[in-house]
């Protein structure tokens, strides 16, 4: 329905199906949500208050997911791992842990442990970029999160999982910049897996996209 998003054409869809047949999506959202979650504490009040508190919980969730995505980037040294940026990230993690306590939110043990490790330790002691990106996606399933996870998987040489994550993300309409990024990642994963012909066909789709043609 969204005309501005890039959608795969039938040729690309077929290639994506082939990739997903090799290995279905690496993410089981329900299993992930059991491990990583945050819920509201007790909420008394009228309907408007409950709506406002639900919105506040969403803002908390979105912020934590954003921090975890950024942390995954820092962990992979994609973002500048300078002392300043990692210190700023740790401060934000501290702040978020404070907010969770102050607001009486119920967060899963795994999420709290992850945030604490990021708040207290040096970047190299944080959970892996894959774990951070997965946790981010569990809290807030957005395009940026799907891109972050697929790229983290590829960087960690979990190539089959990366390929299926790239393919799953591409199977939905995505913004142009992410489309090119995801397609490049998928091509690289296919090359590493020895699927040269498929990588070549995907590269033709990427070239068509760059020329502004149908994808």
């Amino acid at each position: 329905m969204i005309t501005q998003a890039v959608r795969p054409n039938s040729r690309l869809r077929e290639l994506l199906r082939d990739v997903l047949r090799d290995r279905p999506s690496a993410i089981d959202p329900r299993a992930l949500a059991r491990r990583i979650h945050i819920e509201r504490g007790d909420c008394a009040g009228d309907a408007a208050t409950r709506v406002a508190e639900r919105e506040l919980l969403r803002v908390h969730r979105t912020e934590i997911a954003y921090l975890l995505r950024g942390a995954a980037g820092l962990r992979r040294e994609v973002l500048d791992p300078s002392a300043l940026s990692s210190a700023a990230w740790r401060a934000c993690m501290f702040e978020q842990l404070d907010c969770i306590a102050l607001d009486g939110l119920r967060a899963s043990d795994e999420l709290i442990r992850t945030l604490e490790r990021c708040a207290h330790g040096a970047v190299e002691t944080w959970p892996s970029a894959v774990e951070l990106a997965r946790a981010s996606l569990a809290l807030h399933d957005v395009e940026a999160g799907r891109v972050a996870l697929a790229e983290a998987l590829l960087a960690a040489n979990w190539t089959r999982e990366a390929a299926s994550s790239f393919a799953s993300a591409l199977a939905r309409p995505v913004h142009g910049a992410n489309f090119a990024r995801l397609l490049d990642g998928l091509i690289e994963a296919q090359r590493r897996l020895g699927h040269g012909v498929r990588a070549q066909r995907l590269a033709e789709c990427a070239a068509s996209f760059e020329r502004g043609g149908a994808v």
Partner: protein
């Protein structure tokens, strides 16, 4: 449907014939309009030119607004986000509701103002802990409303793409929009999403001519664009929405 046809007719009368012969906008032209709404966001689609008519209109109101915000420290400081939220819910002391209304008009988005207000006060409550008085409170609140708007636009887009059953509370927001057009609320969500991702010029032109009901001359004066450009932009927006509507019915 009757109203939609009436609107289409009204616009077609207003739009010079030349508008219909213009090339279509590239489909991906506004693909980046909605990005992550968190601090990494550097390209607010909604950036408001400071010399726009709306900004000029708003300027004289600012000293009064500032005076009303003199007590912001009492509202935002020394409390948990939940407590700040309760303060903001009680009588809207920072007048965020009127700020939301102004932003929606300025940016020409089709969004439920209540939802934007709720998300805005949630953001203000969460990030109050970081606020130390810089930038000025009006600017800081304005940014919070902008971020809340983009949050909601992204949420709606993701929800539509996911194709799952919508949250009843959220879909209720589209009932009022949908009724006059004879659309189902779910279809209306798609139309609103598509509208909100049009280029700002098209949204503003459509809003001015079809929602505010301005004449072409008045819309041209208000936007600083030529009447022809306004008409073309509104026409492109209308064509996009009508095509989407047809698609939905099929």
């Amino acid at each position: 449907m009757v109203r939609k046809d009436a609107q289409r007719n009204a616009l077609q009368q207003a739009v010079p014939a030349v508008a219909a012969s213009q090339p279509e906008r590239a489909p991906e032209a506004s693909a980046e309009a909605v990005c992550e709404s968190t601090p990494e966001l550097a390209t607010l689609d909604a950036a408001q030119p400071s010399d726009s008519p709306q900004a000029a209109d708003a300027a004289p109101q600012r000293p009064a607004a500032r005076a009303s915000h003199a007590h912001w420290r009492q509202i935002l400081s020394g409390a948990s986000p939940r407590e700040v939220l309760a303060r903001l819910m009680s009588g809207d002391p920072l007048r965020i509701r009127s700020l939301v209304a102004r932003k929606l008009t300025e940016r020409a988005y089709l969004c439920d103002a209540d939802r934007v207000f709720m998300r805005s006060i949630a953001r203000v409550s969460r990030f109050a802990v970081r606020y130390r008085g810089q930038p000025e409170i009006d600017d800081w609140l304005g940014s919070a409303v902008d971020e809340a708007l983009l949050d909601l636009l992204r949420d709606d887009l993701e929800a539509e793409r996911a194709g799952g059953a919508p949250d009843p509370g959220e879909i209720a927001a589209f009932v009022d929009f949908a009724r006059p057009l004879g659309l189902e609320p779910l279809a209306m969500r798609g139309v609103c999403n598509a509208f909100n991702h049009l280029p700002e010029l098209e949204r503003r032109a459509f809003h001015a001519l079809l929602i505010e009901g301005l004449t072409l001359d008045a819309a041209s004066r208000a936007s600083g664009q030529s009447a022809t450009d306004v008409a073309r932009a509104a026409r492109r927006a209308l064509d996009t929405l009508l095509a989407l509507h047809e698609d939905t019915r099929r």
